[in-house]
């Protein structure tokens, strides 16, 4: 099926990969001494694993049609709460992790209830929650770093397998699970349907409230998980880490939606997007770009990705309409082959 392969390899389908290749070549020529070092790439993989996990969590909620703007502070909340349990409360390693995950789930549950029961728009509900969590973080930590989380916990973020740290593999594991659920199961189909048209999904018998609550809970759990890994890799609970993760996660999820699955939010596209964005930022930094480059790059990428997706949708629709019209004008025979050839 050469047509199918051509479509799979088309720029439209995997533009991020082509952009990656171009960036790779440009930076290899521009800053070969630093850009082509293994250590550069190892650092890139390790440092972006947390962002990627967070973006995967975000994919779940956006797929269900709920925008979780609290996802950055949920990460920060997880980062501080796990340190608080470990250090201030002296809880053991496993219970501390479990409690933190539960706390993340609880935050997601409140988000979900605000959206489905109180009927507050997800933007507003999670924006409010985000501020509440900032307050909780400051309260728990007294706005101080929580030091001394213990070496066994730090191992979670720093232990290496095949030259890469554990979070990279944990990210792949989370990605695999989320991908399986969203794309291979009946549940995932219902999540996509809810996000695609909540009214039609409801009338098809989908429990849309449960889907939205469930997706925000999973999103919260994954976000605090990412936060714990952040704490583990820097070795202390930092009350300031959360909010800066929001934009990269959104950029990656939206840019990822333009990859592989023709406009649908998806896990692998999102992971690729995280690393392509990070490669661009890294390359520019190595080339001596100023400190504000990451913000500019992520923001521009988000705008470009969403703009492209909109443009693509109208272009496909316009194309389909044109084909239909051609179909009408010609005799059925000629029209049909034209329609099929063009699709």
């Amino acid at each position: 099926m050469p047509e199918r392969i051509a479509r799979a390899l088309s720029f439209r389908n995997i533009s991020a990969l082509y952009i990656f290749v171009v960036m790779f070549i440009v930076f290899s020529i521009w800053v070969p001494d630093t850009f082509l070092q293994w250590n550069t790439w190892k650092a890139l993989f390790d440092s972006q694993a947390v962002t990627a996990i967070l973006a995967i969590g975000l994919v779940i909620s956006i797929t269900a049609g709920a925008f979780d703007l609290a996802i950055g502070t949920e990460l920060g909340f997880g980062a501080i709460v796990v340190a608080w349990f470990l250090v201030d409360k002296g809880v053991g390693l496993v219970p501390a992790i479990v409690f933190t995950l539960l706390a993340g789930g609880l935050v997601g549950l409140v988000n979900g209830l605000l959206v489905t029961k109180a009927k507050i728009d997800s933007f507003i509900a999670t924006l409010g929650m985000s501020s509440v969590l900032l307050a909780a973080i400051a309260w728990v930590s007294s706005s101080q770093q929580i030091l001394g989380v213990g070496s066994s916990f730090e191992d979670l973020g720093t232990a290496e397998i095949f030259g890469l740290t554990l979070p990279v593999f944990l990210m792949l594991a989370v990605g695999l699970v989320v991908w399986y659920v969203l794309e291979k199961t009946a549940l995932g189909r219902r999540v996509y349907a809810t996000g695609g048209n909540i009214e039609a999904a409801r009338l098809a018998g989908v429990r849309v409230s449960a889907v939205i609550i469930g997706s925000l809970v999973s999103c919260g759990v994954i976000a605090v998980f990412a936060g714990m890994l952040e704490t583990a890799s820097i070795g202390s609970g930092d009350p300031t880490v959360g909010p800066s993760y929001l934009l990269p996660a959104f950029s990656a999820a939206f840019l990822g939606s333009t990859q592989f699955r023709g406009g649908r939010f998806n896990v692998w596209g999102t992971i690729v997007a995280v690393y392509v964005l990070a490669t661009g930022v890294k390359g520019l930094q190595l080339a001596g770009a100023p400190i504000w480059i990451p913000n500019l790059f992520n923001g521009a990428a988000l705008l470009l990705a969403v703009g492209l997706a909109k443009y693509e949708a109208t272009a496909t629709r316009a194309g389909a309409i044109r084909r239909l019209l051609r179909f009408d004008r010609n005799r059925p025979d000629g029209g049909r082959s034209a329609a099929e050839g063009a699709s």
Partner: protein, 528 residues
Amino acid sequence: MGRQRLTQQNQPLLSVRGLSKTFPGLKALDDVSLEVGSGEIIALVGQNGSGKSTLVKVLAGVHQPDPGAEIALGESGDGEGQAGLHFIHQDLGLVGTLSTIENFDLGRSLGRSALMPAPVRAEAKRAQELVAGFGAEIDVRAPVEKLSAAERAIVAIARALDGWEHPRNVLVLDEPTASLHGEEVDKLFVAVRRVAERGAGVIFISHRLDEVIELADRVVCLRDGKLIADVPRGGYDHDDLVELIAGEALTAAEEVAPRAPGKPVLRARGIRAPTIAELDLELHEGEILGVSGVLGSGREEVAATLFGAGLGEVDELEIDGVATRALDPRRAIAAGVAYVPGDRHREGAVMKMTARENMTLPRLRGLRRFGGRLDGRAERQEVDGWIDRVAVRPAEPERALELFSGGNQQKVVLAKWLRNEPKALLMDEPTQGVDVGAKAGIFELIAHAAAAGAGVLVCSSDAKELALICDRVLVMRDGYVVGEMSKSNLSEAGLVRAGLGGGVASKNGGARVDQKPETEPEGVQNNA
């Protein structure tokens, strides 16, 4: 034709000559000529699909007419410039959260004063005067969503007139009374008459004939795209109008031996909804039951209410002989009820998902394997079968539904429900936005479903299609069933007649309940 009220210097404000509009496979308008004079109120009547809305859309510039048509706007005669055309659609186009004053202000170009403080007091005074000019007492500072439906309509009319530099324009009102009741209609009519008195021409589209008789100076009737009558006031009575709209051609009803009615698959008592006063309904195995009625008659809410998808409620419900609580969509599906909504884009399907995903959405259980995994191969196989059976073109299950034509989208929606083998299939406007070719295919699918033992409920504004496919049709008017016709006396004209009803019946609350089945379509109304 009617220029009876136009004096010599009083040339028409709008004159249409030889207007035709052809869509692929359909002549929506055929050589229509029409004039609107100053001070005239013209009622445009005709049943669903007669070309009324096409005419309005051509006038509004949404559709290009076929070449050869002449549409001219008259000079106002007093050197005040050309007459204008203003449209007020059913939704009125007001911003609900803004007050009357602010709504008036929206259309005005601000120019240099854009950043100046708004002259609030002066504006309020002017708005009050404008509205008072239509005989309405309205709190111009309240958000318009807090006003009654009639008051909102008056605000919309006042706003249209506010922008006029001279009164001699043409105002087109598209079904302004569909959501109003008795008293409110009267209020609106006072306003419409004032508009005409000031020298404007009014084109008024309505399904309610008693209103037409009360208000119009002239009635223009369309049927199958042709203008078949243009009669001045007094030249018609209620029966004449029904005759004009429905047409003479009583197509001889096919002599089909009435199928032995099977056992009831759905029995409902006390269906109530915002537009349904009271309705009982019994749907039998293998039966195609139609619900007919004009916009606002309650017909639109029957299917949704039974499925538990609307705002209404049901007192007693029995499905397949088992009494159940009132439904919600999940329970309805589990009980063997399926619902094809009228608004495909908003409710019927997830347009961004593929045809395959849409088809299997209501019942994924049979495709679930270990660990919740969907059996992709089984799903594709099953969907290929359905695509074949309902003849979706192009036969591409992996294409996003939004990229199919309306007719093929509807076939996918139908297949998605037929796949559940429903006991009761509820449909709202099953052929809305469906091309002629696909229509026949959809009728065939409905017939097959009934033959397979499902009870099918078809709610439609299209009397022609109901007459064609139904075994029995309930006719609704003002929230009640006012007639029932079975196959032997079922005809398009009869349905239209019954739906339009008598002048008195639709205005007096008490007199409308008429549960007695109509045996003779001609005998439905007799009170002109």
